[in-house]
Each structure stands twice: as C-alpha cells, then as structure tokens.
C-alpha cells in the first residue's frame, strides 16, 4: 500500500470514528425571527386558547353558583381544560407574558390554603375590597383548591365559597384579556426592519429557557419526588401527569421548534453549532422518554425512582443550556466580570 493509500485509509477511519451525525446547517436567523415565529405560532394561539378556556371556566362557575344547572363535575372539567392550557404555555414567559407577570398573577403555586380561606372571609366581609386579596389567594391553583378539596364538596349553598370561586374565575379572565393582543403587537414589533434589540432578545430568550428548565426540575419534578403527590402541581385534581407533560412539551416546542418555528435548535444550526444542536435534541428525547416512563400512580417507590431519573435528565438539559448553549451563543447567564454578589 502506498503512503498515499495508507493516508487515505487512515483518514477514512478517523472520519468514521468521529461522532459525525450532525445534521445539515439551517438558515442563519436573527433572534427576532426565532422569537417572532414562536410568538405568532405558539404564544398567540396558546394564550387565545387559555383565554377561551378561562372564559368557559368563569361561565361554568357562574352557572354552578348561580344555580342555573351547571354541575360541579362540569366546572371541574372546565378547570382541567384551563389548567392544561396554562401548563402548555407556562414555560414560555416571553415578551408581554414576562413583563405583565401574568404567569405569576394567575398561577400562584404551591397553593396556600390558609390564604385562600382568608380571601373567602375577606370577600364575604367586604365584596368591594378585592384589592386587599393577595396573589397567593388567587389564580387557577386557588380555584383547584376550592373545586377539589372542599369537604363536603362545594355546593351553591356554600354562599361565601361560591362567591369567592366566581370572583376568582372572573379575576383570572380579566387578567388574561390583554395578553393575546399584546403578544401580537410584540411579534409585529420584532418584524420591524428597525428592530434593534437582537442581542438583548437573545440574552433574555436563553435565560427564560434556562429558568423554565430549572423551574420544571426544581419546582415541579423535585417537589413531587420529595413531598409526594399531594404537594404536586395538579395533585388535588389528579392532573399531575398531564400537567408535567404539558409543561415540558411547551418548553420542548421553544427548544426544538415546530412547523414554522425554528426553535433554539434551529437557531443553533443556523449559527453552525451542529453538534450542540444534535446533542440538545438527544437530551430532549431523553427527557421525553423519562417523562413517558412515569408510572401512574406516581406515589410509589417506582414513581420516586422514575422521578429521580427524570430529574437527572432535566439536570443534563439544564447544564447543556447553561454551559454549552450559553457559551456557543455568547450569552451571559451568570457572574460576568461586572456582575457582583
């Protein structure tokens, strides 16, 4: 074998040994293109769906408490729809959703039963003074507590509780109403040719995705693992598993993209970070697989072990975003030179 042939053979072996599964590059995008696509295709319809479901819930609570024949089961079903719609967008705190603090205003969790009870008393004492009812006593988790925990089950005859339930439903609907339009405006503003906030938008977008991954891991999965189903999101209504899946699928949409939405992975490909994009995709697959392995019911040794495994895959995803993606995109997510503690 000539030197040349030996060299070519050696090169071929080296190339075969490389982890070279990287898919082809994608078009290079600006952060505004990634964010505006997500806003148009995911956030606007997601918030519109949530608005519809919350309006339906408010109507159902009115009907139930007003004695017009709506059953408690129908109100509970309306709550489940609304809560699931909320979880689908919970990880996507972008633009007006972040600035308005809407996800914290209508989704105070873990629920504070004692504060909800105080809210009931406060509203009963002075129906005109709702301003003093704090956020921990409001929102969809507070409604879940009223609908699923009351013993005996909530009935229209329980005037104070029913009045509070009705007010909560209307309050959530009112808080949500400006969001779909605000999100549409936000998406349009990013398509403006004079948009000059690309760097800040990229910084914020990656930080939100990291923050949502951490929140999912620590607040939803780890709390469920260590404190049990009663302390879990949706635990009172038996919605824990669907909520976990909905939250992660929302997050995965922003990471992986969907039809017409490039997602972070497409953005990375467009910047030439093909191996990282592949690795991120693989890690998302692992999280999804771990989520799919969660047993029902979760309150078992097997459930805790599965949650532990899920937590580890999420930790890997978080590290990948915090370290690798942040490095690749030169996004400051931490303690920069002038960022003191």
């Amino acid at each position: 074998m000539s030197v040349l042939l030996r060299s070519l053979f050696g090169l071929a072996l080296v190339l075969l040994a490389l982890p070279g599964r990287a898919e082809a590059p994608a078009p290079m995008l600006e952060p505004s293109a990634m964010a505006s696509a997500l806003a148009e295709k995911v956030l606007v319809p997601g918030y519109a769906a949530l608005q519809r479901d919350v309006d339906a819930l408010a109507k159902a609570t009115d009907g139930f408490c007003g004695g017009s024949g709506t059953s408690l089961d129908e109100v509970r079903s309306a709550w489940r729809h609304a809560a699931l719609s909320l979880r689908r967008i919970s990880a996507l705190s972008f633009g007006p959703a972040l600035e308005s603090r809407i996800l914290r205003r209508i989704d105070y969790w873990p629920t504070r039963p004692s504060l909800v009870e105080q809210g009931i008393e406060r509203l009963a004492a002075d129906p005109g003074d709702t301003a003093r009812i704090g956020l921990p006593a409001r929102g969809l988790p507070a409604i879940e507590y009223l609908l699923f925990v009351s013993d005996p089950p909530l009935a229209p005859a329980a005037k104070s509780r029913c009045a509070y339930l009705t007010w909560l439903g209307r309050d959530v609907a009112e808080q949500l109403s400006p969001l779909p339009e605000a999100l549409r405006h936000w998406a349009e503003s990013m398509r403006d040719s004079e948009f000059d906030g690309e760097r800040a938008l990229l910084d914020e977008s990656l930080n939100v995705l990291i923050g949502s991954t951490e929140a999912f891991r620590e607040k939803y999965v780890e709390k469920l693992r260590t404190r049990g189903i009663d302390a879990s999101d949706g635990g009172r209504s038996g919605s824990t598993l669907p909520h976990l899946n909905a939250y992660f699928e929302g997050l995965a949409t922003a990471l992986q993209g969907t039809e017409g939405v490039p997602g972070l992975i497409g953005f990375l490909r467009g910047r030439g970070h093909l191996s990282l994009a592949d690795a991120l995709g693989d890690q998302i697959t692992q999280v999804r697989s771990a989520l799919g392995s969660l047993p029902d019911p979760l309150d078992s040794r097997q459930g805790r072990e599965s949650l532990d495994a899920l937590g580890k895959t999420l930790a890997g995803l978080q590290r990948m975003l915090t370290e690798d993606a942040a490095d690749a995109l030169q996004v400051a997510v931490g303690f920069g030179e002038g960022d003191g503690d």
Binding site: S93, L98, R101, L103, R104, R105, Y108, P110, R112, S114, L115, G134, L135, P136, D203, E204, N207, V208, I210, G211, S212, E214, A215, E218, K219, E222, K223, D308, G311, K312, A315, Q318, R319, T322, E323, A326, D327, Q330, V331, A332, V333, G334, F335, G336, E337, G338, D339, G340, D341
Partner: protein, 361 residues
C-alpha cells in the same frame, strides 16, 4: 467563588443528592486560617456545593445550590446558618461539628412569592434573622423576618428599594440594607432589567417595625450599593459595584446623612476596577476586595486611600485579630498580620472554588 464568566451557578445546583449528605473530603492546607465558608468543587463547571469549616471538609454539608452568606448562630450552640446565592431559595441551619441539619427554609413555602438575595444578619438578642429578599412579581426589595432557630418566616418589610443585597444590624439597633437598585426577575435569573433606571441606596430601617428611617444615595445611579461595614465607633461604609458608568471609587462612607466617596485617584480607580465583592471594618480602616481587579484595597476611616495588595480573584474578607483574611474563587487564601499596606500577606492555595463570604472558624 467570586468570578465565573458567563455562568449562572444558581442554575447549576443540579445535584439531587440528599441535602445532609456529607461532602467529599478535600484536604485543607494545614497552616491556612480556619474559616467557615461555602465552596464548590470546580470553578468553571461546578457540580457540588458545600458549606462548613474549610479545615474540616468531611463534615461540611452538601447544598442544593451555591451558598453565599454564612454566619455562626448567635446562640453559641455550634450551629451556623447559610443562605443561597441570589436569586436563591434556601436558608439552612446546621450543626457544624456533625453536619446535622437543624432547620431549613424553602422560599417556595413562604406565604409570599419571594426569592432570597444571598445575605442575612441576626438581631441583637439572636432570636430573629433578617434576610434580604425580592418579591417575585414586581421585584420589590424586602427584608424577611425569620425565627433564627427554626428559620420559620414570620413576615417581611419593604427594604426601601429594589435589588436589596447585604444587610447589617448596626450598633444603634437599626437595620442597614444595601439596596443595589438592580431589578432581576425569577424567570430570567440574574439578568439585569433596569440598568438605565437604577436607584441604589443605603436604607436604614427600624428593627422593631421595619419602618424606613433614612435613605442615603450617591450622586451616581450606576454605582450599586452592595455590602456594608461598621467600625467600632459607629462609622458606616459601603462597598460598591459600577454598573457601566464612568470610574468611581468602590468605597463610600456614610457621613452627615449622606454617602460620600472615599478618596481614590484615577490610577487607584483603574487599579481597583469596577466591582467590590466585600468590605471589612478594621480598627485602623477598611479593607475592600476589588474582585475583578484582583486587589485588596485599604482605606482609613477618613476615606484616605492607604494602598492595596495583589490578591487575584479575591472576594471574601474576614477578621483575623486586628487584620484581615481574604479568599478567592480559585482557592486562594491570604492573611495579613499587620493590615499595613506594605506588608505582603501570607498565601495558601486550597483545592476548591471558595465562595464570596467567610467568617473565622
């Protein structure tokens, strides 16, 4: 651990190990000063976080994320309290000699949406603990009031600003709060959201009621007020962080109802950089850790610059008699014997990434 570019360690507290599991022993330098502090296994990509005595690493507790302020409990029972680095969730009290957890607080269990801001102090009688917090909805600064033994949160007061950082109980019984003036939100971690609209201040609060008593400001809104020290005769000084404005001294003194900069020539300001990580009151003046510049700078109590020492990546400052001990995030430990500007501090190197604050063990 003072500097870790483009990292957010609070996001890296990824160990799901039980909190009370003892840390893997890392041998400490036998001659190094004994310190109670926090550390991580690696500066660049930390995976394990601990709090304890640096000279007894096997007894340190594993933390769920990076720790920050740490103090011995004033009861003198051998326990200590550590708070999470900002924006953080936990306060933990533990028995230092055994690593046994005695009490803990998780911000998610509070009756209010809050995040901890990495600093705390105790009341004079040691029964209460005051921790800086930010409200999660709009970022308003708060002082959380806690039972110092159980760490149960008893309530909260306004800190008088946003982005509260360190807190200190002053000799006259008032609480001093360094309102850094920087807005952050839980969804975006440590991302600064208001650098054009900062309003830093040193606020004093009535320790019984939380009422805002006074609020001192510098003329430059880009100088974030971060850490507080008080001398034996009551003088108060603050260490500063420059958020992108023209150079300014990194130390200011509370004087006649206002904050005034300590003296620093242009070369001194250049040598000290833009970020002070800690400030320590000494009998003869103040030591300031100029973290990004890697120097420990000394001023007297009149605000006259005395000199500085090369201490790369320095941050934590602790008293050693009448002088100072400093640590850096690459594991460096320095001790000065005379606190004089011309003395070369003794130096050791530990095998861990040391965190921003420490007290003598």
């Amino acid at each position: 651990m003072a500097i870790d570019p483009r990292r957010r360690q609070w996001l890296l507290g990824l160990s799901l190990a039980p909190l009370a599991r003892l840390a893997q022993a890392v041998p400490a330098h036998p001659a190094a000063p004994r310190l109670l502090t926090c550390w991580a296994d690696d500066l660049r990509r930390p995976r394990a976080f601990h709090a304890g005595r640096l000279d007894q690493p096997a007894l340190a507790i594993a933390l769920p994320a990076r720790g920050h302020d740490v103090f011995w409990h004033p009861s003198g029972d051998g326990s200590a309290v550590v708070v999470a680095r900002r924006p953080g969730r936990f306060l933990i009290r533990w028995q230092v000699a055994t690593g046994r957890i005695l009490a803990r607080f998780d911000a998610d269990d509070a009756d209010q949406a809050i995040r901890l801001e990495g600093h705390f102090c105790f009341s004079h009688d040691g029964r209460q603990l005051y921790a800086t917090e930010s409200e999660s909805i709009d970022g308003r600064g708060q002082v959380g009031v806690y039972d110092a033994l159980t760490l149960q949160r008893l309530g909260g007061w306004s800190s008088g600003g946003i982005g509260p950082h360190s807190i200190r109980l002053l000799a006259d019984g008032q609480l001093a709060v360094a309102n850094g003036g920087i807005l952050t939100l839980p969804e975006t971690g440590r991302l600064k959201r208001n650098r054009e609209r900062m309003d830093p201040s040193l606020a004093t609060l009535d320790v019984g009621t939380g009422q805002l008593l006074a609020q001192l400001r510098l003329p430059d809104p880009w100088m974030s007020v971060r850490h507080i020290a008080q001398g034996r005769s009551g003088q108060v000084a603050v260490a500063l962080q420059n958020e992108g404005g023209p150079p300014r001294p990194l130390l200011a003194l509370a004087d006649a109802g206002a904050l005034r900069y300590a003296e620093a020539s242009a070369p001194v300001m250049e040598a000290c950089g833009g970020y002070a990580g800690d400030v320590l009151a000494l009998p003869q003046g103040l030591a300031v850790s100029c973290t990004t510049a890697g120097r420990t700078a000394l001023w007297d109590w009149e605000g006259r610059f005395q000199g500085s020492h090369a201490t790369p990546r320095v941050c934590a400052l602790a008293r050693a008699g009448t002088s100072w001990i400093a640590t850096g995030d690459e594991g460096d430990v320095w001790r000065s014997r005379s606190a004089g500007p011309r003395e070369v501090p003794t130096h050791w190197r530990e095998g861990v990434a040391l965190d921003n604050h420490a007290v003598p063990a």
